[in-house]
């Protein structure tokens, strides 16, 4: 097994040079030291996140409300996709430890097989994170809405599809009576943010006015995230009243009543700092995963060329394995503090 000293050494020899008191090679020891310093960086970031979260009075976004979508399936799957990502990263950690184990038996074929599996898992994770970011940035179909009493609410439910816009007043591009069916969602959200939607009528970019034809929303619930004069934090408004209040804001014709998605300036899901920390910490972790995949590929090339076989040991695989497990380890904590609690 790794790291076991095979013979007893008296302490004079042990600390007198030549041998390592830790019974480990220089490279592996340095990898551990690097990982400790990197762990301190991540520890510092998560501590800063916790500090901000605890001293903030507004509602912090809740994981299962913020991340409830699956690729191709839509909404209503709280935390499932991120759980799948976590599982993929754990599995790729397992394939890595199997590659290390194969290396200890000088089984080159085994090392190659498991390292390829690890690299695939790593790419899958990075791709998933890109999807998650894109989803987080674009936001939900409803957005976060400011109600009449000044409170702000996130919206759950099934968004009724936009069918078309029927032009009632001609502009630079569209003629009266024209039915617009393309790029509806994008134009609609832009108009809502700019306050160009009033009483079911939308003013488009070219100055034309059109009637919005939209299917009914289903199961709408408003959850208050910033208190107003009437509603308190975490109040829930359901059913017909929810729909009435939501569309009162949408149709008010006033700008900035609704926020769609999150960026460094505004955040649909709750407190602004959450978005900053989300981008920075998951981004920094994603960068680690990406560089881990690159390092794994470089080492895999070395394995394929027989470099480590000639050397007589696969310690390079073990060292990159340490880094890869560390990336998994960090994700375990990010998963808990960003998504679960």
């Amino acid at each position: 097994m790794s790291g076991h000293a095979t013979k007893e050494i008296d302490s004079a020899t042990l600390w007198g040079g030549k041998v390592s008191p830790f019974s480990t090679s220089y490279g592996k020891l340095m990898m551990w030291f690097f990982l400790v310093s990197d762990a301190l960086t991540f520890g510092g970031l998560l501590i800063a996140y916790g500090f901000t979260r605890f001293n903030t009075l507004d509602a912090w976004p809740i994981g299962e409300e913020t991340f409830n979508s699956m690729p191709f399936l839509g909404h209503g799957y709280p935390l499932l996709y991120v759980a799948l990502m976590t599982f993929i990263l754990i599995v790729s950690s397992v394939t890595m430890v199997l590659a290390v184990e194969a290396g200890h038996r000088m089984d080159k074929r085994g090392v190659v097989k498991w390292m390829i599996a690890t690299i695939i898992g790593g790419f899958f994770f990075v791709g998933s994170q890109a999807w998650e970011w894109s989803h987080f940035i674009h936001g939900s179909e409803f957005g976060k809405v400011e109600l009449a009493d000044g409170s702000q609410a996130i919206v759950h439910g099934e968004f009724g599809e936009l069918q078309n816009f029927t032009v009632t007043k001609a502009g630079n591009h569209h003629k009266k009576g024209e039915i617009i069916t393309e790029d509806l969602m994008h134009q609609y959200q832009h108009a809502v943010v700019a306050g160009h939607v009033e009483n079911g009528m939308i003013t488009l970019h070219d100055g034309s006015e059109a009637k919005v034809n939209k299917a009914e929303d289903k199961d709408m619930t408003l959850i208050i995230k910033v208190k107003g004069t009437k509603y308190k934090l975490n109040d829930r408004i359901e059913g017909a009243d929810a729909s009435k209040q939501y569309y009162a804001s949408i149709n008010s014709g006033e700008p900035h009543k609704v926020i769609y998605g999150a960026n460094l300036k505004e955040n649909e899901y709750g407190t602004q700092q959450y978005a900053q920390f989300f981008f920075f910490i998951t981004g920094f972790h994603g960068f680690h995963v990406f560089s881990g995949v690159c390092i794994n590929i470089i080492i895999l090339i070395g394995v394929l060329r027989g470099l480590y076989h000639k050397r007589g040991h696969y310690e390079m695989v073990e060292k990159t394995g340490l880094y890869w497990h560390f990336v998994d380890l960090v994700w375990v904590f990010v998963f808990t503090f960003f998504y679960l609690v």
């Binding site: 830790f22 916790g50 001293n55 009075l57 038996r105 310690e315 380890l329 609690v341």
Partner: protein, 122 residues
Amino acid sequence: MERDDIYEYSLDTHHSEEEGKVLRKKIWKVTAILTAITVVEVMLGAFIKQHDSIWPLVKYSFIAMTLVKAGYIVLSFMHLGDEKKALKYVILVPYIIFIVYLIFILLTESNYVRSVWESHAI
């Protein structure tokens, strides 16, 4: 590649086919434990809401489960449990002391800042 002025520790890590079998079994066992913990976490997260009265308990169990997972990854996957005791403690002890200290600072300072926000609310 062999040098006689240093001891080649990298060669100590080799093991036989039989030992490998035992090790692989252990790896799959740890995999099963990590997966089970993740499944439990997601179930709890999806079904118990943050305004439920049981939530604080769930929250602390999340943190406990995370530490169990971290322990398995570090001690088993990263083989730190198999390294010499001296190395194990050189890695773990300073880090844990420092992080525990930072968590203490986090809690006291953020509670203070929060109380200031609350008492000076606009």
